[in-house]
């Protein structure tokens, strides 16, 4: 088959994988820095995680005089339990507001209380009122950005899944191999720089909030290319999500803080969470902040109630909202009220009846280890957004992913344009490597016996949910690693694709996803096993306390097919190694 595998090839300056805000912001920045950009969307361009977000945006706007970028930085490091990459967190706090203005310049209308005054609210964990928002949420953010790409004539390739990056003998990335799912055709984009902005890995879990295409592709591709991952053991679970119907299960309902007066005042009551015995169980875990606590603590508290048999038959607990907030909630978040009405009923939508909720996999806190300009240890490869790690540490504040993907999306685009300018290689020199990889990914199409990809995906999702999710233990993590090895060695080589069409072959796409899911699942389980403590989103039943010796990061890399996990000191502001800052002068 190898000889027959046809690969179309073309050259671009900057290839960007991912059509969410991190990818689009990188595209805008790289284009504005003079680069010829192509952006790959795995599905239709509007299928991305940003679009699903509530769009809350933490930034220091100046409208709360008590707040400051120092306070935002401190809140983020406190929430991240001290293992954030401090320089990245500092950049987030310092640049978030400028990027919020960028969005306004693109046409987004932030909610206002006066003509020149933004409306602000709070999310769980933060200590100051600082969160901006807009009624059109992630939809509005992605639409205004998309129109900016259109305005610049940036080419977007829908249904193009990045399969792998291609490297020269020195390890320098020379481009990306993509499968055009709409035709079943391979394309090799030779590029001066590749930006991975493919989002997170929420599809590793049975119950998840993200889009079905977030299978950690880019993180796995980077790992295979030799990149280091950081904090990959930390997966953020949103504490409350829909329990039914099946299609909506896991879709975020955000935080209990928003369903009570805590939404407006750090001292006021959040909505109460009760188990089936009527107990307000969160008080056992965080008597001070109660249901206004951080997402990690709330999600774990709910999960433990469910696991210990005090949950509803459908696998949830009951949230008792405060009907007083209904008018404000309806005005601010009409989309959520509509979903509550459709999925649950009118009493629930009016916040008059208890709402059944369950935790759900939301956000991949770890990811590829990057410097302040989103470069990683693989030359020519840049990573931004949810696929990158370090900004949020062991837990993320609600409202901080939106500024993250804007701030670092832009930085990735600027740096990628620079890397592309400096790159002397290029052309189709690595086409043979691309062709060989494409041929290998066709093998499953020829097999007639074996297991279908969706069946294996479900096995991985169950293992991750049960053992590498909210509640972990050394024994179960070891067991899971063995199960993953067995899947990789015995099951993956026997995957069959029953669909013989090359056009929009979902089984084939899922086959490509399987390797990515396994690569990241394994990295998550291995690093979880190596962290003998409980911190942020990582909870070990055999090590239930925080251990100050573990105020450190775990780095995961792959060497000769084996995962290596290494403990490293946290990068604080003092210890930060200056990144290549020569582009600093070029920043508009």
């Amino acid at each position: 088959m190898t000889a027959k595998t046809e690969v179309f090839t073309e050259h671009v300056d900057v290839l960007i994988a991912g059509s969410g805000a991190a990818g689009m912001r990188a595209a805008i920045a790289a284009h504005d820095a003079g680069a010829k950009v192509v952006l790959l969307a795995k599905g239709p361009r509007r299928a991305n995680h940003t679009r699903m977000s509530g769009g809350r945006y933490n930034a220091v706007s100046g409208f709360n005089p008590a707040d400051s970028t120092d306070a935002f930085f401190r809140d983020t490091v406190d929430s991240g339990v001290g293992i954030n990459n401090y320089p990245l967190t500092r950049i987030l706090a310092d640049e978030a507001m400028d990027r919020a203005y960028d969005l306004e310049s693109y046409g987004l209308a932030w909610d206002r209380t006066e003509i020149k005054k933004y409306y602000m609210s709070m999310t769980g964990g933060g200590t100051f009122v600082r969160t901006l928002g807009s009624i059109d949420e992630g939809i509005g953010i992605t639409e205004v950005m998309l129109h900016q790409l259109h305005k610049r004539g940036i080419r977007i390739c829908d249904f193009h899944m990045l399969a792998d990056v291609v490297q020269d003998d020195s390890g320098r990335v020379t481009g990306g191999l993509a499968l055009d799912l709409s035709k079943g055709a391979w394309r090799y984009f030779s590029a001066g720089a590749v930006v991975i902005a493919t989002g997170g890995t929420s599809q590793l879990y049975e119950t998840s909030s993200g889009p079905a295409i977030n299978t950690g592709d880019g993180i796995a591709i980077a790992l295979r290319a030799g990149a280091e991952l950081v904090d990959i053991e930390f997966m953020q679970f949103i504490p409350i999500s829909f329990v039914y119907p099946p299609s909506a299960r896991g879709y975020t309902l955000i935080e209990p803080a928003h369903y009570g007066m805590r939404h407006f005042d750090p001292k006021a009551e959040p909505a109460h969470l009760l188990n089936t015995k009527g107990e307000r169980f969160v008080l056992k875990h965080d008597p001070v902040r109660r249901e206004g606590s951080t997402r990690d603590i709330l999600a774990r508290a709910i999960m433990l109630e469910i696991l210990e048999g005090r949950g509803t038959p459908e696998g949830g607990v009951l949230m008792h909202p405060d009907p007083q907030v209904f008018d404000a909630f309806l005005k601010e978040r009409p989309i959520y009220i509509k979903r509550l009405l459709e999925n649950y009923g009118e009493g629930h939508a009016r916040l008059q009846e208890p709402i059944q909720v369950t935790p759900s996999a939301l956000y991949t806190l770890g990811g590829v280890r990057i410097d302040p300009w989103c470069r990683c240890n693989v030359p020519g490869l840049l990573v931004s957004g949810e696929a990158a790690g370090g900004v949020h540490g062991a837990n993320r504040l609600g409202g901080s992913s939106m500024p993250d993907i804007q701030v670092f999306g832009r930085r990735a685009g600027i740096a990628a344009a620079e890397d592309a300018r400096e790159y002397a290689g290029g052309g189709a020199a690595q086409l043979d490597k691309a062709r060989a990889r494409a041929a290998a990914l066709e093998a499953c199409m020829q097999r007639n016996d074996g297991v279908r990809p969706p069946d294996i995906k479900k096995r991985i999702q169950k293992l991750m949910w049960d053992h590498v999710g909210l509640v972990r233990s050394g024994a179960k993590l070891t067991e899971t690693l063995a199960a993953f090895r067995s899947l990789r060695e015995h099951v993956l080589p026997t995957v069959k694709v029953t669909n013989k069409s090359r056009v929009l072959n979902r089984e084939w796409m899922e086959f490509l996803e399987l390797e990515n899911l396994l690569d990241i699942g394994e990295a998550m389980a291995a690093s979880s096993l190596q962290r003998p403590e409980t911190r942020g989103a990582h909870y070990r039943t055999d090590f239930p306390a925080l251990d100050s010796n573990w105020t450190a990061n775990l780095i995961v890399r792959r060497h000769a097919g084996q995962l290596q996990v290494e403990k490293k000191a946290v990068v604080t502001l003092e210890k930060a190694v200056p990144a290549r800052e020569k582009i600093a002068g070029a920043i508009a």
């Binding site: 239709p44 046409g107 909610d111 206002r112 939809i139 998309l146 900016q148 299609s247 879709y251 979903r339």
Partner: protein, 233 residues
């Protein structure tokens, strides 16, 4: 509590690269009455037809990419409740890539051509940009259009005449009302066939995001008669 039900789904199958004609295939599905059409389609893919081509991503009515026709009516598969008898077809009048998935190339070209980014006379001067809070709210409602093409698919004027369709009018109106935009959006709307609209309001009734493209068209028509929107006077 949801109850178990049996459903019959007739799905239009077509691979333009191979098939001369589309054909319909019928599937019996055991599910529950609170299932959405998407749950039915996913169940068919997982248990009966691994070669079914269908599209979805967010499953909660946000990405707007799962729109199909159910018993002739354009809907989002993830939001539409299942029915005992369903005929599921790709969204018309768009070219089909395969089975239930349409090719959106022309749709995206239209979005690009309409230039929906604010056309600023002067550079953005930093925020907050002066926008009345109520206007900001209204802009955001128009900003939450999913671009799902449900209204375009259901529009009788699109079917018969040269009209881009309601969704495009709504987004033009969005820009017409944006204080920073200096484009002549009314002229664009007329060029895109706005006057062909019958005023039937079907787009508003079909919109999964509860928006009213019909109202956007009425507002443009009012401007046309009374001399344009305020900011262009």
């Amino acid at each position: 509590m949801p109850t178990d039900i049996k459903m019959r789904a007739e799905i239009r199958r077509y691979d333009p690269s191979v098939d001369a004609e589309p054909h319909y295939e019928t599937f019996e599905v055991a599910g529950q009455d609170n299932w959405r059409v998407l749950d039915v389609i996913r169940s068919i893919y997982e248990r009966q037809a691994g070669d079914l081509a269908y599209q979805f991503a967010c499953r909660v009515g946000r990405c707007g990419t799962c729109a199909v026709k159910v018993n002739g009516v354009p809907v989002l598969a993830c939001q539409e409740r299942c029915k005992p008898e369903m005929k599921i077809e790709p969204l018309t009048p768009f070219p089909v890539l395969r089975d239930l998935v349409v090719d959106r190339s022309e749709i995206e070209a239209r979005y690009e051509q309409h230039a929906y980014a604010p056309q600023r006379k002067t550079e953005y001067a930093g925020g907050p940009e002066p926008i009345d809070p109520l206007l900001a709210e209204d802009l955001c409602h128009k900003g939450s259009c999913l671009a799902c093409m449900v209204c375009v698919s259901g529009c009788p004027a699109v079917e018969e005449r040269a009209f881009d369709g309601p969704a495009f009018m709504l987004k033009l109106r969005h820009m017409a009302e944006h204080p920073a935009d200096s484009g002549n959006r009314l002229e664009q709307a007329i060029d895109a066939g706005m006057l062909e609209c019958f005023g039937c309001d079907l787009c508003t009734q079909l919109c999964p995001a509860d928006l009213s493209p019909a109202q956007a068209i009425r507002d443009f028509r009012r401007d046309m008669i009374f001399g344009g929107s305020k900011k262009h006077e």
